[in-house]
Structures are given as structure tokens and as C-alpha cells.
């Protein structure tokens, strides 16, 4: 077994931004190394460089004394670095053993597959890792956490020196994650160099021995977990930053616009109660998978819900449907801009009026003149940079695409803007422009609800922030009273 993964002066430049800056560190065997950093810190860049998915601008990786010189993921694989990704790669119709030995099933003398041998070898591998799953079981009969374990067994069948686990618990419950941790500890004791990526702070204390914190592309520090408190860790992540809050001229009234009562959708969120006021910008904070997006979708009517009620301007909404939500005065932009927001193969013009086609009618026919007015208005007001409204929306940058999506909804003259991760995948300037749009709407009396994984953004943009944990609203804060570190700590669930 190799004993140490060494990273020497790793740097990665993207156009206009240095994602990783002169990163050097050593990761010895016999430890679980966790990586921590907020969105955009350079954490994923580092991890992808190790798995061979991206080519660093300069710097080198060494396994003991061997310079790895990784060009592709298969290079990394050949040199003994195996990665288990968030999206599982198992084939549901095949058995556990067939998946583990996919493409290299043992053969008998006739050149046919020797299932008996495959099952025996798979069984031995699973036993070694303490995984109690029969190799003959079809993968589709396994639950998520079992599949995750099979995925790890598959990676281990290649006998790698380094095993990289990318958010392995993102879709697992707490008790299931515990079973995964057991396997991780067995692997650690076998002398595998384990690299563990997770956004769940608690897990770092549960499973990791050392934690590597990255901020703005720089190594902040590598610390032994036993010596750390949660507060210290969060401070390392965020550093000393001062966040500016929402401009003072943006005031909201006491007039309720949207009331959500006893709102429940099984397995997503439970007993949600809150009121949104006229002109208010309300943020919802919480870690991934806490049911933030599901809550927004259900309020708007994109998904159905089990219990509770949504009241807009004193009128209770009857049934969940996007059409009813729109007619009640709500607007919704999905976190998946390209799949559930825009129509990529259509023009900017068509995308800007999709939600407001009804308003463009003149009698029963569409008025091209009205349509042009609607398109023109958003392009000017939102400062969307386009060559022509007939260009495909897919030809725009992420920021301008997001503006088109928001513009489509502002054309419906909504009272409530519901924005799910409006700043995802767009540059800093465009982010500010999106929030300027939200503020401008607020000045005109429109209320907004914003979900974002970037807590600083919520502090900068919102009047008030609700905090969600595991499907429930657990707290309510005002950005003026709180630091980003405190907000982050509040999102992380306390456990005994």
C-alpha cells in the first residue's frame, strides 16, 4: 500500500478567476481526510484535480514518490485513485456481483461468464468491508444506502490506494449514513487514503480524522478534528467578513400578501407556517436536502402537498397547479434554469413571454406589437445583453439566461416572486444585478421569497430569513442582528 498522497503547489486558473491558488498538502494513509469549504471556495476544483476530471494549470500530485501526472479520470483510476460520485453508476437490472465486476466478469474455459466464481469473489469483497448484502441480489431491489455501499465495494475491487467519496450521504438518512461510516472506518484501518467530501458539518465530526479547509482557492488550514469545535471550523470556512445588508430605503409593510399555514408534504417538509408581507424580501436558509426547494415548489403549485393551506391576498388556493399559482399572482423560477425554466431551443423573445401569452392577445389573436412591447420592456429594464430577441436563449450567458427567466415572470406582473437559487452558476456581477431586480420589484410593492445556498447572499439581500432544518422552520432571523457564521451554525443541526 502507498502511504501518502502529496499535493504540490496545485493551481487552477479559469478565465478571469483563480479557482485554486498554490495549494500544497499531504494526506497520509490511515486517516479519513475531510474537505470543507463553502460554495465557490475551490473545494470542488481540488477534488476534481485529484480525480483527474480537470487538468490543473500548474503543480503536481504524488503518491509517495511517484509523480502521478493525471490527464484524465482513467489515468487517476490506473494510478490507484478511485472516486465514488454522488450520482451512482450502478445498473439497476444487474446483480450486485455483476455490477462490481462489470466489464471484467471472470470467465470459464469456454470463454463464457463464470457466475459462480463472480459471486464467490464478490461475497469475499463485501465481507471484508463488513457489508451484509448478497452478491446475487439485483441492484434495483437495494435501497439507496445499500447501493452506495455496493458502489464503494466496486471501487475497492480495483484495490485503489486512494478512495475519494463525493457527498456519499447526500441522499441518506442519519441511521443509514451511520452504516456507511462503519465501512469508511474499516477502509481507513486497512490503510486506504480516504478523502471525504461533505457539506454536512456534523459528519466531519462523526467520521473524519482531519479536516482541510479551503477558502477563495487558498488552503486555510488542516486540523485534527479532535482539537476542533464547530465554531472554530465555521470561522475557518468564512473568515473575517463583513456582510452589507439590504439598503435602508427598502421597507416593507405589515400588510400580509402570502400566508402559509400548517403546510406539510410527507418526506419533504412538515408543518410550515409563515407570512410574507407586501414589499418584503424573505430568505429561506438551510442545507441542501432540507426541503427548501420542495417547499417553494408546493407553495407555487408546481408540486402537490398533503396538508395545510396557502392564502394569497386573503384568498385560499384550492389545488396545487402552476396555472392557479400564476393566476393568484405568484411567479416561480426553478433552481434548474435549463431543464425546468427556459426553453433552450426557442428564442429569447419566446422565452420572455411564455408565462404572459394570455396578456398578449388582442381578441383571440396574438398581437405581435404587444409582444414586442413586452420583450422590449424586460430587455431594457433588466439590462439583458442580447444581439437580437430572435437569438436562441441558449446562446446567452448564465446571468442573462437567469434574467430572461425572471423577465418572463415579471411580464406577468406578479405580486410574489418565488426564486429558487437565482444566483446559481452566474458570475458576481450578474448576481448583484439579479438582486437589484428583486429590490426594484420590492420598491414597486412586489414581495419575494428567495432560497439560496449562499448564506452571505441571503444576508445581503433579504429583510428577514427563515431557517429550515430537516423539513421544518426552526428559526427566524434578521440580517442586521446576525453574522454569517452564526447563520451557518443555525442551519447545521445540533445533535446529541
Amino acid at each position: 500500500m502507498k502511504k501518502c498522497l502529496r499535493i504540490q503547489s496545485l493551481t487552477k486558473d479559469y478565465p478571469g478567476v483563480r479557482a485554486l491558488d498554490d495549494f500544497s498538502a499531504e494526506f497520509p494513509a490511515g486517516k479519513v481526510h475531510a474537505f470543507l469549504g463553502k460554495n465557490g471556495s475551490g473545494k470542488s476544483t481540488l477534488v476534481k484535480s485529484i480525480s483527474g476530471a480537470i487538468l490543473p494549470t500548474s503543480g503536481a500530485l504524488f503518491l509517495d514518490d511517484e509523480n502521478l501526472d493525471l490527464k484524465t479520470p482513467s489515468d487517476a483510476f490506473a494510478k490507484g485513485i478511485a472516486t465514488v460520485y454522488q450520482e451512482l453508476s450502478l445498473i439497476p437490472g444487474l446483480s450486485v456481483a455483476e455490477n462490481i465486476f462489470f466489464g471484467r466478469m471472470p470467465k470459464n474455459k469456454l470463454g463464457l461468464i463464470n457466475f459462480k466464481k463472480a459471486n464467490i469473489e464478490a461475497k469475499r469483497l463485501l465481507d471484508e468491508l463488513g457489508i451484509n448484502i448478497s452478491p446475487k441480489t439485483p441492484v434495483m431491489e437495494l435501497s439507496m444506502w445499500q447501493r452506495q455501499l455496493v458502489e464503494i465495494a466496486k471501487a475497492m475491487s480495483f484495490q485503489p490506494h486512494v478512495l475519494l467519496l463525493d457527498e456519499p450521504t447526500s441522499s441518506l438518512a442519519q441511521s443509514e449514513a451511520e452504516k456507511l461510516f462503519e465501512v469508511v472506518r474499516i477502509l481507513r484501518d486497512k490503510g486506504v487514503i480516504l478523502l471525504y467530501i461533505s457539506h454536512k458539518l456534523q459528519e466531519i465530526f462523526d467520521v473524519a480524522d482531519s479536516v482541510t479547509v479551503i477558502r477563495d482557492g487558498l488552503l486555510v488550514g488542516i486540523k485534527d478534528v479532535v482539537d476542533l469545535t464547530k465554531e472554530e471550523l465555521i470561522h475557518m470556512m468564512f473568515g473575517d467578513i463583513k456582510v452589507e445588508t439590504i439598503p435602508d430605503d427598502l421597507q416593507f409593510t405589515n400588510e400580509p400578501v402570502l400566508e402559509v399555514k400548517n403546510f406539510t408534504s410527507k418526506n419533504h417538509f412538515e408543518d410550515i407556517n409563515f407570512t410574507l408581507h407586501k414589499s418584503e424580501v424573505l430568505g429561506i436558509a438551510g442545507l441542501l436536502g432540507t426541503g427548501r426547494s420542495e417547499l417553494l415548489r408546493a407553495i407555487f403549485g408546481a408540486d402537490s402537498y398533503d396538508e395545510g393551506e396557502v392564502t394569497v391576498n386573503g384568498k385560499k388556493l384550492k389545488k396545487a397547479s402552476p396555472k392557479r399559482g400564476k393566476e393568484a399572482g405568484m411567479a416561480f423560477t426553478s433552481e434548474n434554469r435549463k431543464e425546468e425554466g427556459l426553453i433552450l431551443i426557442h428564442s429569447i423573445r419566446e422565452n420572455l413571454v411564455l408565462a404572459s401569452l394570455r396578456a398578449l392577445r388582442n381578441g383571440i389573436f396574438m398581437s405581435k406589437k404587444k409582444e414586442r412591447g413586452y420583450v422590449d420592456r424586460q430587455v431594457e429594464n433588466l439590462q439583458i445583453k442580447i444581439s437580437s430577441p430572435e437569438a436562441l436563449v441558449s446562446s446567452l450567458s448564465g446571468g442573462n439566461q437567469q434574467k430572461v427567466l425572471v423577465g418572463n415572470w415579471i411580464n406577468t406582473e406578479p405580486q410574489i416572486l418565488i426564486l429558487d437559487e437565482p444566483s446559481r452558476g452566474i458570475d458576481v456581477n450578474a448576481k448583484q444585478q439579479i438582486f437589484d431586480i428583486v429590490w426594484e420589484q420590492s420598491r414597486q410593492g412586489v414581495s419575494s421569497i428567495i432560497v439560496s445556498s449562499e448564506l452571505e447572499e441571503l444576508l445581503q439581500t433579504c429583510h428577514r430569513i427563515l431557517i429550515m432544518q430537516e423539513g421544518r422552520i426552526v428559526n427566524e432571523v434578521f440580517p442586521k442582528d446576525i453574522e454569517v457564521e452564526q447563520l451557518y451554525a443555525m442551519c447545521v443541526k445540533e445533535r446529541d
Binding site: E339, I343, H346, L354, R361, P389
Partner: protein, 348 residues
């Protein structure tokens, strides 16, 4: 002052500039027209009778039946669906009309005019209902329209044979012939202007109505949105279910209409007609530039696609080409058209 000039400058920048995507789109459509003209010039050098008004009307007559179906199919394909049942609907519709006319006239003793009008109305209604059936299974049970209409392709043909008992029903009053085979402003025999066949007028009326529907109504615009990205359309508050009902309803209606036109041409309700009609219609739509993945397509494109197939068939026949060779060439053309569209799309 300064602000307003700046604004108008922005406006000019947005709407004044030549747009690449649109230009490519125009080139693509013009390219098809140019090939069509080239084809016509080629055929006219082969046969002096090709480029005459009389032959033009022959071409139009030959494509009007498939054309009416293909225009409807365009809606379904833009909506991201398919309707394979239209060929069998043509057979069913002819047989049903004939059976109803016979029933009304002989069993109930109604007059011939009222019988025909009633029969046609009922048949067109059945066409719409069959379309709504497909849309409903798609909307509420998520059965792909390919599967439902594949089933209907067989089933509707079976119903046509059951109604007719396997034999053509010959009951129509003689004036019924006018619908599918009549002429407007009919000229003298041998005159340069032969008149306009009534079925060609039907084709163009359907074309104009669908053109308006697709480009100048909310439902038309919604059809494109649903076909391109159902979820984005739904989340924008578009009634996806209604869109499918309209697209399949109209397609069913038009398939029934073209069945009535066929029955009028042959003056019988025959269960064997229309077979394979769905494939010719789909070919015309594809040649016209629509994408089977939905969201893309033009009704004018389909019209050109129809004319293309008509001119090609007519020209090849006048050259005395073997019908089997004609089939091979038509098939190759569909593939070539798709390839061509893909190349153009890659460029833009």
C-alpha cells in the same frame, strides 16, 4: 434627453441588427424551395407537359389528401407527440360516412342532402374523439402517443372492416363526388386554365387556418412550448393537457376529413383505403423541417414538404420511372432532408 437617445440606441441595437438564427432559418426554408424549383426545371426539360397549369393542378390534387393529414400531423409533431392512427382513421371515416348515409337514407328515409351533412358531421366528431382519446391516455395515464396510436392503427382499421363487413359501401348521391373530385371555375377541355379542384381549395383553407392557429393564437404558441420543454411550459402556467387535446383533436378531425374526401373521390366507403397514409404524412412533416423531438417545425415547411413529394412523384411518373424505384427515392429523400436540417442546425 440624453437618456432617451440612449434608450432608442439600445432599441436599434436589439431589433435593427440582422439576426443569424433567423437568417439560417430562412436559408433552410428557401433551400427547400430552391431544390423544389430545381426539381421542377429538371422535370420540365424531360417532359414538355410538366410545366403546365393543368399538370400543376394534377400535382396539387395528388397531394391534397396526404396534405390535409400532414398539416394536422405537424401540430402533433411540434407538440412532441406522434399520431400513427391517421391512415386507419381515413379508412374508418370513409366507411362510417357511407354507412351512416345508407342508414339515414334507407332505414330512416331521410333526404340525401340532410343524410350526407349529418353523416359528415358525425364522422368528423368521431375523428376528434379518437384524437381526444389518445390525448387523454397521454395526459392522465402517461401512455406514449406512439403506443396508443399504434394500437389505434390496427383497431380503427378493424372497426372499418366490421362496419363495412369487408365490402365497399356504395350509397352516396351523385353530387357527393364534388367534395373530393369537383372543380371550381372548370375550364373547357384542353384549355390552358383547367379550373381549381375543390380538394385543393380544402387543402389551402386548412393550411391558412392552421397557419393562423400556430402563429397567431395562444394555443399555437403553447404547442411549441410544450413540445420543446414540457416542464418549463407547465411551470410557466401553460395548460399542457389542453395543448395535447387540441393537437390530437385537430389531427383526428383532419384525418376524418381526408377520409371523407377519399370516399368522395371513389364514391364508396372502402375499408382498405388510407393504409400507410400516416407514414407519407410524417415524411412530409419531416422534410418540411419539423423535429420529431418536438418544439420545432413550421406549417409552411410542411406545405413545401407536401408539394415536394407531389412534384417528385408526378415528375418521376411522367419520366416513366418504375414505381418501386420511386419509393426508394422518396425514402432516401426523407433521410437526406433530416441530415440536411441537422447540418444547418449545427451551423447555427
Amino acid at each position: 434627453m440624453n437618456n432617451s437617445t440612449e434608450k432608442s440606441a439600445v432599441k436599434q441595437g436589439i431589433f435593427g441588427g440582422r439576426d443569424f438564427t433567423k437568417t439560417m432559418d430562412i436559408i433552410r426554408r428557401l433551400a427547400l424551395l430552391l431544390v423544389l424549383f430545381a426539381l421542377m426545371i429538371f422535370f420540365s426539360t424531360q417532359n414538355e407537359n410538366f410545366l403546365t397549369l393543368r399538370n400543376a393542378m394534377t400535382v396539387l390534387r395528388s397531394v391534397s389528401i396526404t396534405g390535409v393529414i400532414a398539416l394536422g400531423m405537424t401540430l402533433v409533431i411540434i407538440a412532441g407527440e406522434i399520431d400513427l392512427s391517421v391512415g386507419s382513421m381515413v379508412a374508418l371515416s370513409g366507411v362510417l360516412t357511407a354507412w351512416l348515409v345508407r342508414h339515414f337514407m334507407q332505414a330512416i328515409g331521410m333526404g340525401d342532402a340532410i343524410s350526407v351533412i349529418l353523416a359528415i358531421t358525425i364522422t368528423l366528431g368521431v375523428g376528434i374523439l379518437v384524437g381526444l382519446f389518445t390525448a387523454t391516455l397521454r395526459n392522465y395515464l402517461r401512455i406514449p402517443s406512439f403506443i396508443t396510436t399504434l394500437g389505434l392503427l390496427t383497431a380503427l382499421s378493424g372497426v372499418a372492416y366490421l362496419i363495412s363487413g369487408g365490402f365497399p359501401i356504395i350509397t352516396f348521391p351523385s353530387w357527393y363526388r364534388y367534395i373530393g373530385a369537383g372543380w371550381l371555375f372548370e375550364g373547357e377541355r384542353g384549355a390552358t386554365f383547367p379550373g381549381i379542384p375543390f380538394q385543393v381549395i380544402i387543402l389551402f383553407v386548412v393550411f391558412i387556418l392552421l397557419f393562423i392557429l400556430l402563429h397567431y393564437t395562444r394555443i399555437g404558441r403553447s404547442i411549441y412550448a410544450v413540445g420543446a420543454n414540457e416542464e418549463s411550459a407547465r411551470l410557466s402556467g401553460v395548460s399542457v393537457k389542453l395543448v395535447r387535446c387540441v393537437a390530437f383533436g385537430i389531427t383526428g378531425f383532419l384525418a376524418a376529413l381526408s377520409g371523407i374526401m377519399v370516399s368522395s373521390q371513389i364514391m364508396t366507403g372502402a375499408p382498405a383505403v388510407g393504409a400507410g397514409g400516416e407514414m407519407n404524412a410524417i415524411s412530409a412533416v419531416i422534410i418540411g423541417g419539423a423535429s420529431l423531438s418536438g418544439g420545432v417545425g413550421k406549417i409552411t415547411g410542411t406545405l413545401i414538404g407536401i408539394l415536394f413529394l407531389g412534384v417528385l412523384g408526378n415528375g418521376m411518373t411522367m419520366m416513366g420511372m418504375d414505381t418501386h424505384w420511386q419509393a426508394v427515392i422518396r425514402g432516401a429523400l426523407v433521410i437526406a432532408a433530416v441530415l440536411f436540417n441537422m447540418l444547418i442546425q449545427k451551423r447555427s
